[in-house]
Symmetry: C2
């Protein structure tokens, strides 16, 4: 592995490459060149080679990449061989949406609990086998069930408190949907999905239709 | 403006700077240096200067930035002086969540319609003044109401069709939540929020806790 710092964007792109390789594997393709991969999925072939080079020598001269082989490597690099056990905190519409989100790989990410503090929501069935629990039990649940990811869909005003609670219970990775910046303690990682930033970038495009943005 | 291509990340960061400046303005601060701005909000001061330099000379030697002045400039650059009128297509949990999302600036982004094809959902009240309408009326609604942004929360299988429909009706900016890559026609822009990519980057962190990622 190179000593240069790998960026979050490289990791995000690995996810995209993996998705493309899954498609190629489903289509029965055995090998693919970075150029074909790029052409087929609107990617950048130099970027693909550079991103993969951080993690090893995957290309074979005259062949390109072995689809299945690279797929397995990416799954390993991204830590997707391990099953991650997640909870959702906040049983509003967003919490329900995420607990039922079809885009999450069921073999890598299991949402096994959803919590709220509102007595009116506790006990409601979100989907088969998943019922809203009281946050009172969140800490114990995290410890007993070996939860490693928490997804926060609580209001901004409650986010810091819930964040402190889940990290103190041992959760090391948090996906935060509250519109607030959370600061992860040592050894933990928080990733905030800020939907208004996405909307503002569309607004910029609408205001500046002729400006072509670089995607890197 | 520099001729170098501005990246999407720069635009995203402008949104973050704007948010920070809003906080400073609320706190009554008149001026701020890039260093103070960086220190206070966990940003990078060289990056701030570089990002802003694409759009003009905002810093004043010995002063830094005038908070209100820079705030107004960023609002202009991001096209947030214009009111954007948006529809949500797909009245599932995610659609409901977005129609009620408190993080969207109410003065810049108005969600004025929500649509679905499921007769069981049509007519339901999402919030005061917002009722689920049939997709049958989507095209006319977009034209008559001057909708410029569509937010898609439909299943992946329906996304391409809905995307074609909204862009052909004149929508130029699409925020896509369906786990599928959509290709924008000339003059339109699509931004996909892929929640599993965020989860996979957390998975990478859990698998490689000692690797520190660069955020650029």
């Amino acid at each position: 592995m190179k000593t240069e710092k790998i960026s979050e964007l490289t990791i995000n792109r690995l996810s995209v490459y993996l998705r493309c390789l899954n498609e190629l594997a489903d289509a029965g393709e055995q090998t693919v060149s970075s150029k074909t991969l790029a052409g087929r999925f609107n990617l950048n072939s130099a970027q693909i080679r550079k991103d993969l080079a951080y993690f090893g020598e995957f290309g074979v001269r005259g062949v390109g990449y072995y689809v299945e082989d690279l797929r397995v490597q990416l799954i390993k690099i991204l830590g997707l061989v391990t099953e991650h056990r997640a909870v959702v905190v906040g049983a509003g519409n967003m919490g329900y949406a995420l607990a039922n989100y079809s885009g999450f790989k069921p073999r890598s990410f299991l949402i096994i609990g959803i919590f709220d503090s509102d007595p009116a929501k506790i006990g409601r069935v979100v989907r088969d086998g998943l019922r809203v629990m009281s946050v009172e039990y969140l800490k114990d649940f995290i410890r007993e069930e070996g939860i490693d990811i928490a997804i926060l869909t609580v209001p901004a005003s409650a986010a810091e408190e819930v964040f402190a609670l889940v990290t103190s219970a041992g959760v090391r990775a948090v996906l935060n949907f509250a519109p607030i910046q959370l600061h992860a303690p040592e050894g933990a990682k928080v990733r905030t999905v800020d939907l208004s930033i996405s909307l503002e970038s569309l607004s910029y495009f609408l205001a500046n239709p002729s400006v072509e943005l670089a995607t890197e």
